[in-house]
Amino acid sequence: MNIMTETSQEIKIALVGSPNCGKSSLFNSLTGSRQKVANYPGVTVERRSGTYTTKDGHNITLIDLPGIYSLKDRTLDERVSRQVITGVHKSESRPDLLLCIADSTNLRVHLRLVLELKYLGLPVILALNMRDLAERDGITIDPKILSRELGIPVVATVAVRRDSLDALKTELSQAITSLTPARDAVQAPTTRELQKQARRLSEVAIMSEGTQHKVTRQLDKILLHPFFGIIIFFITLFGMFQLVYFWAEAPMGLIEEGFRILQGFIAEILPDNWFRSLLIHGVIAGVGSVLVFLPQILILFTFILILEATGYMARAAFIMDRLMAMVGLNGRAFIPLMSSFACAIPGIMATRTIEHHRDRITTIMIAPLMTCSARIPVYALLIGAVVPNKSIFYGLFGLQGMVLFGLYLVGIVSALIVAAVLKMTLTRGAAQPFLMELPKYQLPVLRHLLINLWERARIFLKRAGTIILYSAIGLWALAQYPKKPLGATEPDIYYSYAGTLGRYLQYIFEPLGFNWEMSIALIPGMAAREVAIGALGTVYALQGNEDQITQGLRTVIQNSWSLPTAFAFLAWYVFAPQCFATLATVRRETNSWGWTAFMTGYLFALAYSAAFVVNKATIALLA
């Protein structure tokens, strides 16, 4: 079979490698922004794919398989990787070629995976990544000897350097022109046997052993220090949340101003009819009040991406392990929980690195208590409205940032308590190994950071353009019709469908101090949390409250919500039952309606009780 006869044929290359080998970085460099992230159907193993075209016109599809240490069936990642490589995966056709990436500074360990891959029947090319770091540490490897011994092409690479990428691409192009058809996989020897071979190989190919990465050694002395390490860890987290507020202020003001000008402009040029109302009160009030939070979300993601790219995230897991152990989890669970600060969905997906089912369930159950970025709009709006913008501690911290940090803290503490309770009851069982590599510290690559940030911004904007836009329009319609009867005294919206629905929901939410406007907003808030703000924007705009147009939602809330009501709404959102997307992810991840229902139920109960208690307590304090 000669694949070359059809030039239009796509060549599929799978990237395989252990965690921390720089695989994602290499993938980003090869594909640039021509990549997309999706999931393998049925399981939530992330499928990253991208394309590039070779000089001689081949279209290459790259798929980035998850980072794995071996190809046993222990974790979902290992299973999916094995299925794809051996060609038995249901939705992914077998790749034509494997590009195995190994960390040059840690070759002995990574070679074992290369040896294991050779038994799977596909042609393999080995990229010795992080050549620059190896050189700096005095490690010398001879790719020629390695290539001869392994019987496969070997290229030394630095993921972010053009010249080394060109060498890799040339090697890949050559391999493509002489592709051999895939064979069936054969049984690989035991881990111990592979280890022995890997060790012999590395003894032959490594010319000089070098020393351990000096910067990493020095930095770890401080960052993993039993005292200073913890202080630095908390300062990092605290500073992160302060800056999310501080840096976002100016761009948010600009966006708000922009929408106000747009509303004013539309009011000028269009006659006063239903269409003008739809644009101003439905679309712009709804979508605009959510888009305002784009800067904060991007700043938070920037921090999380940097923590991951530098290697600090693994140190955070080390520092937190003992604390997590107290509630029956291990430090590894800290990483998915940390990602849940951005969004519970990637967080819940990241739990797949937790091999043990019970631990995984526990982590999934508490992930939504980590304050996700979709809650930032809600928090930011309410804090901005009811907490005075002043400095405390001699001007060091903003009070608003402190309150925000406090809300995050309440989420974290509740998560730990829920985990402890679960581990004592529903998910009781033995502890699980912690065992993880602490990767070398690395400077994040700006280009990769931007690619990832753009991906997050795109997802957020897409939601604003679809789900948030539709619910804003839907809510506008519900809130517009039917029109108020003759001689009515309340505002129009009170007599509309939305007003009626809100008044019914009022029976449930009244004990929490919620007004009917808030009760309405909670429904679309289930679709996505930040939509609740858009909904409030629409509802208040339609009340004929001209403040909304001239001064924004914040002022309206300042004037019309009592303090106990605002605090209860904040408390509600600390625990707020999940958005539908998260619940769908939980269903898919746990493969159980039972756990999904359990999560929904317990979060609703917590949210309701917390809002009730906060409301009553604030009333008592103010009396």
Partner: protein
């Protein structure tokens, strides 16, 4: 008999073998040897304790070859050393 879990910060030793059976929990011990091997523990290699966790000096970070691996003392008790 000495095990990795007995060492203090700064101590060095050479790995002699693995005894996953020393863990009380059978479920926990299963795969532990394979996992230790996969992440880079191997007979004959030198290990050194680089860092200890803030509470009860647990977990520990050990240097094996060029890399640093974090593990709990509970897992380290399966690694027999000189």
């Amino acid at each position: 008999m000495r095990y990795l879990s007995d060492l203090d910060k700064g101590d060095k030793a050479t790995i002699l073998g693995f005894e996953a059976g020393r863990c009380e929990d059978i479920e926990f011990a299963r795969d532990l040897e394979d996992r230790l091997l996969e992440i880079g523990f191997e007979e004959g290699l030198e290990v050194q304790i680089l860092h200890e966790g803030p509470i009860s000096r647990d977990p520990i970070a050990v240097r094996i070859g060029q890399m640093t691996v974090a593990l709990r003392r509970m897992e380290a008790c399966a690694v027999r050393i000189t």
